[in-house]
């Protein structure tokens, strides 16, 4: 019969009228992010061996690494800049890192007023923390601990 679909549609909308709402009240309600979420980057500077693999693997040459050789002829990091304005957030750099020094964090509020502010200076903004001295864990363990927390 003509009109049955019309009435069914009205029924569907009326059914949803009193249903639980699914909008997330963003600034008050924070989203629950999965462990692998790609927000921004954290660099654990003591772990970094300045090998440059991250810079090599980056499709857009976002990463600029500065390093110098210390007395043991070992490379030491002196600067780590990310031109995040042209970052694809593909995560190849994090995957490439052999010591798990470069990691994703869940800082997703990256909107800034100017392009320069978006760029990250991971070396300059590094804050030492006791966790950094622990030996590097494998990727799997990292994930488990992230999920447990």
């Amino acid at each position: 019969m003509f009109g049955r679909g019309l009435i069914k549609g009205l029924g569907i909308t009326l059914g949803h009228l009193f249903e639980k709402k699914i909008t997330e009240q963003y600034p008050e309600e924070r989203p629950v992010l999965p462990a692998r979420f790609k927000g921004s980057f954290t660099l654990k500077v003591p772990k970094c061996i300045a090998c440059g693999l991250c810079a090599n693997t980056c499709p857009n040459s976002v990463i600029k690494i500065e390093s110098e050789k210390d007395e043991n002829n070992k490379k030491k990091l002196t600067g780590y800049k990310m031109m995040a304005e042209r970052c694809l957030y593909c995560g190849f750099c994090v995957e490439a890192c052999p010591t798990k020094a470069l990691m994703w964090n869940h800082d997703y509020e990256r909107a800034k007023f100017s392009r320069e502010e978006v760029n990250l200076d991971l070396f300059g903004s590094y804050v030492p923390s006791p966790e950094d001295d622990q030996p590097a864990k494998s990727a799997k363990e990292d994930e488990e601990s992230a999920q447990a927390s």
Partner: protein, 367 residues
């Protein structure tokens, strides 16, 4: 006799119903279209050229930027093309293949949900639009859990997938699979079963079988016109030959059929996911591929059934780490080509519906 004149209307590139930055110059007689001319290229980013200056692996994240509604499927196309070029198609681990199939079907669900949503919006059914986006969110949540990003996942790798999936993920997938059929029923209730919507779409912009073949239309649009083609069944890639699913085909090729094909396909996708998640084998997720990829000299063309049609990559290798040429055969671009012929004689309101029913994403049209 009154002197009458045709009205030239510039539809786009910032018109709300052109699904991006597509421009179309219409000649209107009253409100009926006498001539339509496509103008594309407003979103051209030169992805094919970019590929020539990136290594094979580095181009994977760019695939998400092609057709930003079905990132996983584009990545799958690209990585399988590279695998074919390197001759390692047989070495991909079983588990990775199953995960790839599940991911691409989840992505197909998300893509068809957004198609349904935009179709609803172009017929001014704002409520149905929200229902489509609600379910797309659910699919994207799963993709985000697996890959870390919603739209540009960068999850497929040459030789496998980037990360493994755990029990928790499969539990959520089960929830999605159990939920989705009721959502599809709701779509049918609120929009496609609605008489007003049927009046708006039945018989609008029909594409005959011959016309579809002439223009090279692929994918759901071709199936709506009665061409029984589906690469998942005809040229099975990955492990699609192990699953049982129907290929829905319709006859009329009008806008309504093009919508219904997608609705039917969503049900089939759910079936495929159900079968795949039941027997995902344990094991590695990456084949042993060298860190630096240097495919042998040669060329390859590989295509798969994207959510919108046949997406193909033509890769030419000169033996170095970067492709000599990367050509993208884009289904959206081909499908959009039919619009001028389809729009001729249509009412302005119908032209918008016909354009929406073809399912274009300008990121892929302009590349």
């Amino acid at each position: 006799m009154l002197k009458t004149q045709e009205l030239t209307l510039n539809l786009g590139p910032h018109h709300p119903s052109t699904h991006g930055v597509f421009r179309c110059v219409l000649n209107l007689d009253g409100e009926y279209i006498t001539k339509a001319v496509n103008h594309t290229g407003y979103l051209h980013r030169g992805l094919e050229k970019l590929a020539e200056s990136r290594t094979y692996t580095q181009f994977i994240p760019y695939n998400g930027r092609l057709d930003y509604c079905s990132g996983m499927l584009n990545e799958l196309t690209y990585v399988t093309a590279v695998e074919k070029l390197m001759g390692i198609t047989e070495e991909i681990p079983e588990r990775a293949e199953y995960i790839r199939v599940i991911m691409s079907e989840v992505q197909r669900l998300a893509n068809h949900a957004i198609y349904f949503a935009s179709m609803a919006l172009d017929t001014a059914g704002a409520t149905a639009w929200f229902y489509g986006f609600r379910d797309r969110e659910k699919c994207l949540d799963l993709i985000e859990m697996a890959s870390g990003q919603r739209m540009m996942p960068n999850y497929m790798r040459i030789g496998g997938v980037s990360d493994d999936l755990d029990e928790n993920w499969f539990k959520l997938l089960k929830e999605l699979v159990d939920y989705m059929p009721s959502a599809v029923d709701e779509y049918e209730g609120i929009l496609t079963g609605n008489e007003i919507f049927q009046a708006r779409t039945v018989g609008v912009g029909p594409v005959s079988k011959e016309m579809a073949l002439d223009y090279g239309i692929t994918g759901p649009n071709a199936r709506a016109s009665g061409i029984d083609t589906d690469l998942r069944r005809d040229e099975p890639y990955s492990v699609y030959d192990r699953f049982k699913f129907n290929v829905p085909v319709r006859k009329n090729g009008d806008s309504f059929d093009r919508v219904m094909i997608r609705i039917d396909e969503m049900r089939e996708s759910i079936k495929i996911i159900e079968q795949a998640m039941k027997d995902v084998p344990e094991g590695p997720i990456m084949a042993k591929v060298p860190k630096v990829l240097k495919p042998p000299v040669g060329e390859v063309y590989h295509r798969i059934e994207n959510a919108k049609g046949h997406l193909g990559f033509h890769l030419v290798s000169d033996g170095s780490t970067k492709p000599y040429r990367n050509h993208i055969y884009s289904p959206c671009f081909v499908n959009l080509g039919i619009f001028p012929e389809m729009a001729e004689g249509l009412h302005l309101m119908d032209a918008v519906v016909a354009l929406a029913s073809v399912d274009i994403v300008l990121g892929e049209v302009d590349r």
